[in-house]
Symmetry: C2
Subunit: 227 residues, 2 copies
């Protein structure tokens, strides 16, 4: 076992998953070929099919490895907050932080590949392949349900369908922010990587999202908030 641990550095499966994460992010799921992937991982071409069954199954494994723990973390954090509040309603800001925190902590994980996965994840939401979208949808469903319930409790006066729209918008903001760590620099002057400090980003995102979530309803007046 002592020698065993030295030879392959990491197990073949882990090595494949790490490289797949990176190449899927760089070239997309179709663009990253099995030959690229296995060559970079230093494993035989047949290894993916042997260990995972198929390329599609590999894609699923890549997501499952990170997404399941991430959503579990989200739910645990939300539950912790609710326990602490002891019956009292949570603030929308606290709920938002519980949701985006897990994503942002992953951005900071430069060594473990978490950051790579973040970008990949941000892209996956708009992936054309239906199978991937369905996979993501299934993995998020339970967490989404719980967070929606938490928002309803925090904002009982906000109409349900308005809430659903605003959650939709919030999710879009987060997804794009995750994906765009490296994507189109549409706005000149946008900072390079160094600005991706998770703490600062969390504050900025929370400020933007909670303001959007609490925006006056179309009917209402009062628009100005601060200047």
């Amino acid at each position: 076992m002592s020698v065993r641990a030295l030879k392959p550095l990491k197990e073949t499966q882990t090595r494949i998953l790490d490289v797949a994460e990176e190449l899927f992010m760089q070239h997309g799921f179709e663009g990253a070929s099995m030959r690229m992937l296995t060559a970079k991982a230093g494993v035989n071409l047949a290894a993916v099919n042997y260990h995972f069954g198929s390329k599609d199954a590999l894609v699923e494994a890549v997501f499952r490895r990170r997404l399941d723990p991430m959503n579990a973390e989200r739910l645990a954090e939300l539950e912790r907050l609710e326990q602490e509040a002891a019956g009292k309603a949570l603030t929308p800001q606290a709920i938002i932080r519980a949701f985006i925190g897990a994503s942002l902590r992953m951005i900071e994980d430069t060594r473990g590949g978490g950051r790579t996965f973040s970008r990949l994840l941000g892209r996956a939401y708009t992936e054309p392949a239906k199978s991937i979208r369905q996979l993501i949808g299934r993995m998020y469903a339970p967490a989404m349900e719980r967070f929606k319930a938490a928002f309803v409790r925090a904002l009982p006066e906000l109409p349900k369908d308005e809430l659903v729209w605003r959650m939709h918008f919030m999710f879009g903001t987060l997804a794009y922010t995750l994906a765009a760590t490296d994507t189109v620099q549409l706005i000149a002057g946008a900072k390079p990587e160094d600005r991706y400090d998770a703490r600062v980003l969390e504050d900025r995102l929370t400020a933007f999202m909670s303001a959007g979530l609490l925006a006056p309803l179309p009917g209402a007046q009062q628009v100005r908030i601060a200047a």
Copy 2:
């Protein structure tokens, strides 16, 4: 010319562009093959290479056909508003509407394929292929510059880098909303297509975005807006 107009219904090039738009949206740029595409368009396999040169050039043509007029429309609207204001600063809401209006009007164009293009566009922002991201970036750059300047004039007290972040967030919200017309339904209860009335969506987006844009700075207090 009278008989000429009846035979191909539409010119070959237009027919290819229409089908390409649809298939790129459904299957992605790599996923939609030339054989699929030309078969569905009812043209010969070689027609794409004859008329456009290559598949990559076709992708560019698909974007250019819609994006150039769209950004021109955005800029014209912004200029119109500024002329009307005659020196006075525009409200952030007005600037936001000028920007998202063109996108939303395209969503309503169900017949002409504008809606298809909207979804495609929403996805393209997070496309892995660098060439496509650069293409989009180049096409947006001039409009982005002008709108950024407009926001600076409307919100002189807002620090520049804070503005850039918030424009980034706003753009993410819009992009995801465009792309997700048909994507992952992450939040149960989200309405199907019928809710995509551009007028209502524009009000909702503007409310969310302008609240986010005007959110209190991290330092400030005052969080609650409405309930």
